[in-house]
Every structure is written in C-alpha cells, then in structure tokens.
Amino acid sequence: MKVFKRIVSEKRMHHQPSTASDLLQNEKQAAEISTYLKLNEERYNKVFDKNFDFSLKQIHIAGQEGLILYLKSMVDLNKISEQIMERVAQTQRQKDCITTSKQLRTFQKDYFASVDVEFLQYEHEVVWYVLSGYTVILIAGIKTGMAINTASSEQRAIEQSNTQTIIRGPKDSFTESISTNISLIRRRIKNPQLICENFMVGKDTKTSICITYLESVANPEIVDEIRKRIKGVNVNAIFDSGNLEELICDQVITPFPTIYHSDRPDTVAASIIEGKIAAIVDGTPFVLTMPVVLTDFFKVSEDYYQGFLMSSFVRIIRYVAFTLSWILPAIYIGLTTFHHELIPTALVFTLQAQREGVPFPAVVEILLMETTFEILREAGVRMPRAVGQAVSIVGTLVIGQAAVEAGVVSNLLVIIVALTAIASFVSPIYSFGNASRLLRFGLILITAALGLYGMIIGIVLVITHLASLRSFGTPYLAPLGPFIVEDQKDVFVRFPMRQLKKRPAYMMDGTKTGMSADSKQEGGNS
C-alpha cells in the first residue's frame, strides 16, 4: 500500500505545471535585488514581457534613475498618478540624492508617509507584489525596493448572507476581500488581544490566509497546531476556504465537517470570543472557525438574539430534524419489510393497501425516490437562478404526484422522502446537512439487508465514528462524550444569558495532548 501511495504522490508532483518564475519564487535560493537598473529591467521584462498589461517605466526619483513596475489591470491608475507620480515629481526638488537603504527609509517618511509602503529585499518579493497589484519602485544603486499599495479596490459591496439567513440579528456578511472581512470582525471585537496572523499558501495563487483569535482566550496549543498545519500545506492553489479546510482538518474520510464555516461576521466573532480560532482566506466570503464540536452545527447566532425558551425549542427541533433526516427512510424499510408486527394494527392495513400494486420492493422504491430527489436538488442548485427554483419545485411535485398516481410508489413513501429532504435543510451549515444525505443511503442499504437490527448497527457505527473524531484535538462529541456537566447549558437547550457566563470547558481542558501525533501513528499502522 505504501509503495502504491508513493508512486501516486510522485506522479502528482510531476504533474505540477512549473511556472516561468520558478527560480524566483523559490525562497531558499532567494536572489537579492540588483543595484543595476539595467539588470533589473531585463530580469523583470523576462518574467512579465508576454503580458500586455505589464508596465515598466523609467523615472527620475530624488535625483536618481528609477524603475516603476506595475500591472495595469491590477492597479488603480488614479492612485498611481495621485499617490506616486505627483510625489515623485515633488522629490525632484530634493537636493541630495539617496544612495542607501537607510536614506530610502527617511525618504519614504518624507514623501510616502501616508500610503501603504513595503520595503522589498528579494526579487521574488518584487514579482509577488507586482502580481498583487502593488506598484514597485526600484532605484539605481539601492538594494531595497519600495512597493506601494495601489491595488484597485473594486469589490462586492457587503450584502446580506445568502447561505445562513436569520430573521433577527445583523444582516451583513463577509465578502471576497480579506481586508474587508478582517475589518468586519475587528469592528465587532475592539480588543487589543485580537490577533490577526498572516500566512501565504499556494505555490501558484499565493493566497493570503489570516488566522484570527483572542490571545488571552484561545488555547495556545491549538493555535500552534493550526500554524503548523497551515505552514505544512503544500498545494498549488487555494481558491476557497473549502480547499484549506480539507488540507488542515484532522480526518478527511468522514461525512462530517470537522471545521466550521460561516459567512456571518457575528457568528465568527462569537466563536472567537468563545476561544476558537478563525481562518480567513482571501477571495472567499466563507471564514473557517476551529476547533468545532458536533453540537456547534445545531447552533445559530439567532439563538442568542431571541428569547431563550423559543431558542431552546427551535434547537431541539433541529436535533429531531437531523435525526429524522437520516434514519426515517431506514425505519420505513425496517417496519414495512421486516417487522410487520411492530406497526399498530390500524396502520398496517392502510399501509398494506397503499403497497398493493406497487411493483418494486420497498428498498428499490425508496432508493428510486431518494435518487430522484437528489437529482432534482442538484439540478436546482446548478441551474441558472431564474429557472432553478421553479423547475425544482415543479419537478418534485410533478414527479412525486405522477409516480404515486402511476402506482410506481406508495403515498406514504412520498411523504417520507419529502420529510427527510426538508429535514436535512434544517441544519444551519449546509455541509453538515449534507452528511445526513450520505448516511441516509448507507443506512437504507444496511436496513434492507438486516432489518431494524441492521439499522441499529448502522447507528452504532456512526456514533462510534463520531466518538473517534477529533477536531484539532478536541473530541468531536465534546460536551456529550466526554460528558461535561457545566457545558450542558448551551447544548440541547439554551439557558438564559445570565447563566451563560463561562466559555465552553472542552476548549480549555487538557484533552488535546497527542492529537496529531496520535492520528498519524494510527494511520501508520494500517
């Protein structure tokens, strides 16, 4: 198995497209910026000259020859003329020309104090900053380059969240811009302890990732572990936090998400206050929070904005709905094909009358309808927005009703399929609701073979799997198994706010010892 694994992984490595500037990007062989402008000009032209939007111009700056580099498509040209060119023109009046890096820094303080400036040492940095929309100024004879942020600030406005809607509570949601997202969090938590650490991941995309946490609250071991895992990520591209989620989570082969994601700033801020760590990925509105436990997926921020009685009731409904969404079809199969004696007498004749004339076994019937529903659902998501919803509703109605009238499926079955489908949407996190879709099919099959005994076996297997899961060292079923009494205030019901003073205990305790080492060792045994 190991041999096979190695071969596959080697194949994958070779498959990587090597970019033209491989050498420049390799930090280990970092080349310093040359002091000769001609050399610089040649080098960067070689990297970028096939691009129509690359602009490299010679300028006079502070009595020196200089180069100015930027990508026209990435920058705001107004900013360049206002923030750079005008100031560069002013520098012409300066008497003594600058020749050292030190002088460059004082020069920056004189003329570019109000703009976002970075000093660059290496060639690969120059390339990266140009690619990120900065304007880079190189001056003859100085080893240090100057990068000025001129990125065009075109971005989506802050809108309402589409994926996690609530009725009462803040309506804003994250956008694709990392700085906007950080500001949305910082606006909610005005605390100097709020740390934002920056990472860069992805060989080709160089995506910014920001880890945000409250230093006084977050468990330092977990923070270290997250840093370690993010640094260990070795891929070409990160486009969404989903990529990162899969690369840093504890276990991949599981239908359950072990990292929480949200596009609601209030949810993320609340998690950070609890002591969790958020990871914001540039280019996506979905922010990851970790570690996460199973019960977190049944909580919605609105639970805390409305009365605790109502919230508790709704939360219990969510648990019931999730349970129904994966075991209801199995119960139907178990009762109608194995254990007729367990159906109440009055019901059994009605059920039997409905089944009369249905040509398929109940298993085939239910798989047929479930698959049909999954197709409709997928089509509904992928179709253009204008037709999507209408088509999916009509499809469900027409197919459901027609199937019953044609005598292909029984009435009750349509009710069951519809109920499970609706119940699986109740979970506030889409990816968690999806878990029930997978489990449902597995449970249907095992019940079809062994009856309710099989169903119980399936449930036990799922629960055991859940008990063995960990999210960054925290047991996935944390307040329930291991059972923590003081955390029960906010699990199945929500206690009044006055009593919810403490942060969850499972975030603090010492159960995170040997988390990654543990899982790796077990993986090695197989």
Binding site: E341, P344, L450, G451, L452, V460, A467, G481
Partner: protein, 374 residues
Amino acid sequence: MYTIKKENISLWQLFVLILIFVIGTTVVVGAGEEAKQDFWFAELIATAIGMAFAWGYYYFLRTSNGKNLYEVIEETCGRIIGKVLIFGYVIYFFYIVTRNIRDFGEMMKVTILPITPIEVISITMMFVVVFIVIQGVEVLARVTELFTPFLVFFLLLVFFLIFASEQIHFENLQPFLAEGFKPIFSSVFPLRSSFPYGEMVVFTVLMTSVTRFNYVGKVSVVSIMVGGLLITFSQVIQIATLGEDVKNRTLFPLLSASREISVMGFFERVDILVVFILMLGILIKVSILFYGGLKGLESIFNMSYRYFIIPISMCIPLFSIVNADNIVEHFEEGLLVVPYVLHLPFQMGIPILLLVLVLIRNRKNKKVAGGVKY
C-alpha cells in the same frame, strides 16, 4: 521494545462503563427460578455482594500500588507461571464474550429475525465490537457515555409504558418470604453473584487507566448500587406484570412484559426498545470483556493489542456457535458448569490468592525498608 500507550478515562466514564456492564444484559435475561416471586429481593442481596466485589477488586489494585491485574500477576508469579495465568484470564474473558454473543444471537433468532442465520448476527455484532475496540478504550468510554442516557431512558420508558398500560399487579409479589431465606440464597449464590457482578473482574484491567485512582472504589460501588437498583426494579416490574409462573417459563421476561404495553391504542408493539436495550448493553459488555482479553495478550506478547483484534475477532463468532449445539446446551452450560468451573476460580479464587501474595510481599518490603531506614 513496544511501549504501551497510556489511555485515560475519567471517573464518570468508569461509572457509566460499570453501570452498563452490570445492567446491560441482566435486566433483560431471565433467572431466579428458586426464589420465585421474591427474586427481586434476591437481586438486592446480590447487589450488596456486587458492591463488595467492586470494593474488593479496588482494594486488590490499591494494595498492589495501582498496577493492573496482568502486571500484578507477572510480578507475583514470575514469568512462566504468570504468563500461563494471564493466558487463562484471556481465554476466560474471550469465553464470556462468546457466551454473550451467543445469548444475543439466540434472542434475535427467537424474536425478530427468525430466518436470518445466527452466524450473520454474530459476525455483524462482532464487527461493531471490533470497530469500537480498535479505536481504543477512550472511544469505548465515550461511546458508552453517549449510549447510557439512551439506554437508561428506554429502560425507564418501558417501565413507564407498562405502568401506564395498567398491566402491573403488585399482588403478584405476594407472599413475601413464604419459604424463608433458603431459596433466595440458593439463587443468589453462586449464580447471581457471579453474573453479572463477578464478571467485574475485567475492570481490574481498566480501573488503573482512571485519572483519579483514589476515587475508583467509591465510584464503582455507587455505580453498582445504581445498576443493582435498576435491575431490582426491572425484576419487580417483570414479576408484577407477568406473574412469577409465566416469568420463570420465559426466556426474556422483560421482552414479554413489554409486549403487554398498550397505551392510548398507539404506544403498542414497542418491544423493539427492549431489543435495543439488550443490544446496546451486550455491545458495551462484550467490548469491555474483549478489550480486557486483548490487553492480556498485549502483556503476554508485548505487542500492541491492535495486532490481535482482527484474528481474535474472527474466531469469536465461530466459537460462539460451536460452543453449544442448541439453545438448551448453551443455557445448561451457563447455569451448571460455568459458575463453578470458571467463575469461582477466576472471579474470587485467583484474585484472593494474588492479594495474599501481594500483602505478604508488601510486609516483607516494609520490613526491609524499615531495617534500612532506622
């Protein structure tokens, strides 16, 4: 050399493990023909004996400085004899595992899956046990923690539903102590004390993994008390519902009693709950015993117990079926042979012997130490 990785369980986890271990199968299967309608009282006495057992095992581990059963055996009996003795325990635990699996298979066969081969039931059951045990005792403890509320809730629900169906006739419990204490004692000893309380000997392997060892004794005793009360209550319900005559002629009295349930014409036919209770109970019990046996193999061969899981788990369903040709042989073996040949020596004889050896050695050590010091 292989070093054994230390896994920890909390006191609460130990509590639920013992609770489920004790009530798991006992609430459902029938026993106690001798004591007739006083069997619930016999059960109370057995609970007291069980508490003594639990404290005894804790005392045994405490005097041997928190070493587990296998380490104590190896230390006191030497390498060769020690290993033979450990092997005896391993076989003993695995044998109880096969008996439990067979019990469960028979129950499924006669109640809800009459045509499905018992092999399939045994194998699937063992598969689940392997899936739990392979992940370690921590996961086992967590799974138990999760199942406990369900199990206890379903048990109480069954009691409540029987009660609500007006099926409980407390006059069935009379006359009390009609024949004196003799039949009660004969049903308590050795049968009811060795099963399920004596089987607690497997916890001498687990107790040392508890983080706060000093409280283990108290927690175990309280746990047995709670479990014993639940079992007693279950017996009261069974006798009051079915009458001692029918109850003693029934294989699984709680199942039969639950078939009497009919509340509001809708809450009827809920006996699957009892199957569910029994299944979870057996699952946990078998997992604990299986883990205990595997730990023995670990200490004999000095290899991680995970290496033995797959081969041993393949043998167990086979032996559970080969052990007895039919259900009568199975039960006769369990009632007439096992308590005397296996339970008595392994649950009481050897531990007491070991305790004496440890005490003697402790005294010697103290004398030696005392001589040096003063």
